[in-house]
């Protein structure tokens, strides 16, 4: 009964997200749209805390920790958002976006630890882990969440620093190529750990979030401050996809719908923002490696 109620709550929350986004794109209704989405989110969070049951029918525990975390986050978040100057709002959005990315990254790390504890028993190091389709799917969502969440976190922090002037533009010769190589290394590592995970190499997993953080930093570093809103919007849609990975992981439809919705809307918004600024996305992302290239393109 209780878990059926939670399903209903999740459906309602998903609908509020869709309606909220719809209203946010209409000047007259935007404010109510924001409030509706916030109400749906509150409902989904409270429902999860009190009604969630895992596949073994177990309720959640550690309520003290959960409420402690929520209270700290809510107080700090609300104060920071209320005190921020009007002109500094975009950088605040970037910072909050980075927090969401970091949250997705941490979830992936904890879930991977959990998984490796289940599979790894001392003395088993010679026995290969049993890898089957279901586990590969599970691992893929963990790796993808760690990768996308870390890129979004590191990138958003750099974007935040650039907007408030703490981080200067920085690029080195061949950074373009270095970034592409790094991206391929991360993807290669993900594929390797997807099919070849065993008790001897599972610690290599921690390279995924680490290299992704480095990639996120290098990805945003050379992009000029004026283009930051576009980059923040792009990273925003990345975090949406990272949240959706969590939806796959926990078989949670509200995380999945919310995440994909933001991922898709955010991508379109990024393109629309580029158009409004009379820039092409390609120029923003790769044209800025060296000022002369931008002019040529």
């Amino acid at each position: 009964m209780l878990s059926e109620l939670l399903t209903l709550i999740y459906i309602l929350a998903s609908v509020t997200f869709i309606i909220g986004l719809k209203m946010l794109s209409n000047p007259a209704k935007a404010r109510n749209g924001n409030l509706i989405a916030a109400a749906g989110m509150t409902l989904a969070i409270l429902g999860t805390i009190f009604l969630y049951k895992d596949e073994y029918g177990q309720r959640l525990h550690n309520y003290g920790w959960i409420f402690g975390g929520i209270i700290i986050g809510a107080v700090v978040g609300a104060l920071a958002a209320k005190k921020v100057k009007m002109t500094a709002m975009p950088e605040m959005v970037s910072l909050f976006n980075g927090m969401g990315g970091a949250c997705a990254m941490l979830i992936s790390v904890v879930e991977f630890n959990h998984l490796s504890e289940v599979f790894y028993k001392p003395g088993w190091s010679e026995v290969p882990w049993k890898i089957n389709g279901a586990i590969i799917g599970h691992l893929l969502t963990i790796y993808a969440g760690a990768f996308i969440g870390s890129v979004s976190f590191a990138g958003s922090i750099i974007a935040w620093g650039k907007l408030n002037g703490k981080v200067k533009d920085f690029s080195f010769k061949g950074q373009h190529i270095f970034n592409i190589v790094l991206l391929f290394v991360i993807i290669g590592l993900i594929i390797f750990l997807l099919f070849g995970l065993n008790p001897l190499n599972y610690k290599l997993f921690y390279l995924i979030p680490f290299l992704s953080l480095v990639y996120g930093v290098l990805f945003v570093f050379p992009i000029g401050g004026a283009d930051m809103p576009v980059v923040i919007s792009l990273l925003n849609s990345f975090t949406g996809v990272a949240a959706a990975c969590g939806g796959f992981l926990y078989d949670n439809k509200v995380m999945l719908t919310g995440g994909i919705l933001v991922g898709a809307a955010g991508t379109l918004l990024t393109i629309l923002m580029c158009k409004a600024m009379n820039r092409s996305l390609k120029n923003v992302l790769i044209g800025n490696f060296g000022g002369s290239k931008t002019v040529a393109a």
Binding site: L21, M99, G100, L249
Partner: protein, 103 residues
């Protein structure tokens, strides 16, 4: 592969429909609303907090690594949700104020 698709068809349907819906729903946004919309979408992907709550709530009470990382995840996720909605609301407040003065 085909087997995997038919086993996970629910997810595949959700993902495809949500991609189209996400694009459709904001397709006509005027450019003044770009930043508030970005901020609102930012708050919505804070739904990742639900994953953090589940991680935290499942952690065994002697697994300190999971407890500490989960606790951090809950804090960061809440920051994303609460901060995101409050900032969006403030942006739109400013928007509304301007409009009323004009009339």
């Amino acid at each position: 592969m085909l087997n995997w698709i038919s086993e996970n068809q629910q997810y595949i349907y959700i993902v495809i429909l949500m991609i189209f819906l996400g694009i459709e729903v904001i397709g006509r946004v005027p450019s003044v609303l770009h930043t508030p919309l970005m901020s609102g979408a930012n708050a919505i992907h804070g739904v990742v907090i639900i994953g953090a709550i589940i991680v935290m709530g499942k952690a065994e009470s002697n697994n300190y690594v999971a407890l500490i990382l989960g606790f951090l995840a809950v804090i960061l996720g809440t920051l994303n949700v609460v901060g995101g909605f409050v900032v969006t609301n403030r942006m739109l407040e400013m928007f509304k104020g301007k409009k009323e003065k004009k009339h």
